[in-house]
């Protein structure tokens, strides 16, 4: 039919063609296989080689996984069970070690009766993070708070938390849930007090220490507000900082002891050397991440500043920190700082490590953010200036949101790096999950010679945490994508 039409110049279609599927070789799995795995001879060879490698890996390790032993009291017993079940010479994983020692991987030597405290802090961490991660999204906030509530209910029970904190924790999370329904913006207040609460929960002591320490920021703000109309913004900020430091140095101790005398609310004190495992890694990682971002932003802005002193200090700091291995800094934290500090000050080792890890990440972040700033067209600065926005407002409203957005992948990479680097604290005698705890476990006569299992266990947990960070960053990138190009 079409041939007859094709010979004439005018053409009118008289039958409409129904749509048909593409030929079998051109659709679905067959097409995909052909295009992706078997398109050229080289590709075919690589596919076969790849399949071979996978096959070899699976057959080599499968028995080891299949013969896993969960119930045993020593490595020797594990091996006997494997031999009895799978025959002499068979290999098998000995997860019984994890079953017996999981708590050291999680808490180090934190006293078992107090495990509910890190457990509670961990749950509340997500309640504190949620308003930042999912700003204003009622649904996501409620989901996260609900999950936290369920988590706390189960874990606090399992950790046999005493009745009063149990009830208080649930009341708190219930309150936060209610707040999320009515005024989700106010949840940020919880985020602000969380650091002090977490510090108190983990290290214990009088509740007045963190409260009075936080009051230092109140002093800073009050002095700033009172002084700024009189002497201008920058001097007022300086005066505020001086007042806060004086508060922390001289007023804090007597105020705390007075308040403690009047209202003794306290938790059992835990020493830093009892911290270990993922508790330690997460404390250092989360604190480092939280503080390195603002410091990194300030350093990046400082490096671009017109003020010579600010600029040179920022450049010097960034280049020094980036030029030195983290381990050197950690040794500095554990040894050298002692010399510089006035004698008698007891500067907690975890705190010192956190400060240096934070600085380390901040220096890298500063460079990452500088890249983001450089990627912005000059017109954005000019438009902000022309509208009369001052420097800080232009940065906060126009420049940083865009610069940070383009830097998200690199920022999150830095965070992931920071979190994994927390294992390096093993070198200054802290009990990190990878080296510290594993060494302790393997020093036990019962588990001497165990090799793969602890590393796999720790590796999986690290992977889960880092992978979640990476997924969150991808979510954030998608959410913030507005350029439509």
């Amino acid at each position: 039919m079409s041939e007859t039409h094709a010979e004439t110049v005018t053409f009118v279609r008289d039958t409409m063609l129904p749509p048909v599927l593409p030929p079998v070789g051109e659709r679905g799995a067959v097409k995909w296989l052909r295009e992706n795995l078997f398109s050229t001879p080289l590709n075919i060879a690589l596919t076969v080689a790849g399949l071979g490698a996978i096959w070899w890996l699976v057959t080599a390790s499968l028995p080891w996984w299949l013969n896993s032993v969960w119930n045993a009291s020593s490595l020797g017993e594990c091996r006997q069970i494997v031999a009895a079940n799978a025959g002499e010479g068979a290999t098998g994983a000995c997860w019984a070690m994890i079953r017996e020692r999981w708590h050291q991987f999680l808490f180090g030597f934190y006293p078992p009766a107090q495990w509910w405290r890190p457990v509670l802090s961990f749950g509340l961490l997500f309640a504190a993070l949620a308003p930042v991660l999912f700003a204003g999204q009622k649904r996501n906030l409620s989901i996260i708070l609900g999950v936290v509530a369920a988590y706390l209910l189960v874990t606090l029970y399992l950790a046999s938390a005493p009745g009063l904190p149990f009830v208080l924790a649930l009341v708190l999370i219930g309150g936060l849930l209610a707040l999320a329904q009515m005024m989700p913006g106010r949840l940020l207040w919880f985020t602000l007090i969380y650091p002090a609460l977490c510090f108190w929960l983990l290290w214990g002591g009088s509740i007045w220490s963190p409260i009075v320490a936080m009051a230092g920021f109140g002093v800073l703000y009050a002095v700033f507000r009172l002084a700024s109309p009189l002497i201008g913004l920058a001097p007022a900020a300086g005066a505020g900082i001086v007042a806060a430091v004086l508060w922390w140095l001289y007023a804090e101790a007597p105020v705390v002891s007075a308040l403690h005398g009047a209202f003794p609310i306290f938790l059992q004190s835990i020493n830093s050397d009892q911290f270990g495992g993922f508790l330690l890694a997460i404390v250092i990682g989360v604190t480092g991440i939280t503080f390195s971002l603002p410091i990194g932003i300030l350093l990046a802005l400082g490096r671009q500043s017109d003020m010579l002193i600010v600029k040179s200090l920022s450049v010097g700091f960034i280049e020094f920190i980036r030029g030195v291995p983290l381990i050197t800094l950690l040794f500095t934290a554990s040894l050298l700082l002692q010399y510089f500090l006035p004698p008698g000050t007891n500067f907690d080792i975890i705190l010192r490590v956190i400060i240096l890890v934070t600085f380390f990440a901040a220096a890298y972040l500063a460079e990452v953010i500088r890249g983001g700033l450089a990627a912005l067209p000059r017109g954005q600065y000019e438009a902000a200036d022309a509208l009369g926005l001052d420097y800080w407002r232009a940065q906060r409203l126009i420049i940083l949101p865009q610069a940070l957005k383009v830097s998200i992948p690199a920022i999150v990479s830095t965070f992931i790096g920071l979190f994994k680097d927390t294992t390096l604290v093993a070198f200054v005698g802290l009990m990190d999950p990878l080296k510290g705890v594993t060494q302790i476990v393997r020093a036990d006569i019962a588990w001497k010679g165990i090799y793969w299992e602890p590393y796999i266990f720790v590796g999986v947990i690290f992977f889960l945490i880092c992978f979640s960070m990476s997924r969150y960053s991808m979510y954030l990138e998608r959410k913030l994508k507005t350029d439509h190009r």
Binding site: G379, E382, A383, D385, L387, G388, Q402, K405, T482, R485
Partner: protein
């Protein structure tokens, strides 16, 4: 032109520039600029590329710093005093060749940002003002889109509306149509003509000579960092005095 004649110029001084010089390093980019702009004037600045037109109008809101002479805008002299600079910038709107909208904010947020943070206008009121000006530039339906979703002409009209939301007394335009496709130039020029009719004081760097003839009450010709000639448009185009002006006009009108 009939329309231009209708628009009144008051004798109140809006911008006063005296003995102004500017250098980029060794390069003397603006040389002994003297000019007075009356409130309500519509001035078109033209001249060959690199003659310092952009630099001149960017000095008026201190995007560029001048090294010698005085610039007084609405009674406020531009010095290193940040307070004065902020005051002038909130009085003077500026529209750029490349729009410079904020791509991470919606159109509405682009328009309300400065009123809220600089003028401290309540959000509701700022949004009402923003919608009023979006109506005016004829794109209220785009309020909730992002700049990247708009055409060039629409983006430039948003940029004009963004400046207007600050209720400026003076508007500066730096080649507002030269990054646009021909069919979009008209919609932006129409918006600017509207603005001129309402009596806005305008300084406009442009090569749109039709626009100059329709709305300008004065045309300034610059070359090598100097004001070479200025006149009312009819005289300027029909009867240029200086050789440089004649050459320039023959080049841009000749083809």
């Amino acid at each position: 032109m009939a329309e231009a004649a209708k628009m009144q110029v008051s004798d109140e001084v809006a911008i006063q520039i005296t003995g102004m010089n500017k250098w980029y390093g060794q390069f003397h980019v603006l040389r002994d600029i003297n000019m007075t702009v009356q409130r309500g004037e519509r001035i078109v600045i033209c001249g060959p590329s690199g003659s310092g037109k952009s630099t001149l109008i960017r000095c008026i809101n201190r995007l560029e710093e001048h090294q010698q002479g005085h610039i007084i805008v609405d009674g406020t002299e531009l010095t290193n005093d940040l307070k004065n600079i902020d005051k002038v910038r909130s009085e003077v709107g500026m529209v750029f060749q490349h729009f410079n909208l904020f791509p991470h904010l919606t159109i509405l947020e682009n328009l309300t940002l400065a009123p809220i943070w600089v003028r401290k206008v309540p959000k509701r009121e700022a949004e009402e003002t923003a919608m009023y000006f979006l109506q005016k530039v004829k794109i209220p339906e785009q309020a909730h889109k992002y700049p990247g979703q708009l055409s060039g002409g629409q983006q430039q009209r948003v940029a004009i509306a963004r400046s207007l939301c600050m209720k400026p007394r003076i508007m500066l335009f730096d080649e507002p149509t030269s990054a646009l496709d021909p069919e979009m130039i008209k919609e932006v020029l129409d918006t600017m003509i509207e603005l001129a009719k309402e009596g806005m004081t305008m300084l406009c760097v442009t090569h749109e000579m039709g626009f100059a003839q329709a709305v300008a009450n004065r045309v300034i010709f610059m070359d090598q960092g100097q004001i070479v000639e200025q006149n009312e448009p009819k005289e300027f185009f029909n009867n240029p005095k200086s050789e440089r002006t004649k050459l320039f006009l023959s080049q841009i009108l000749g083809h």
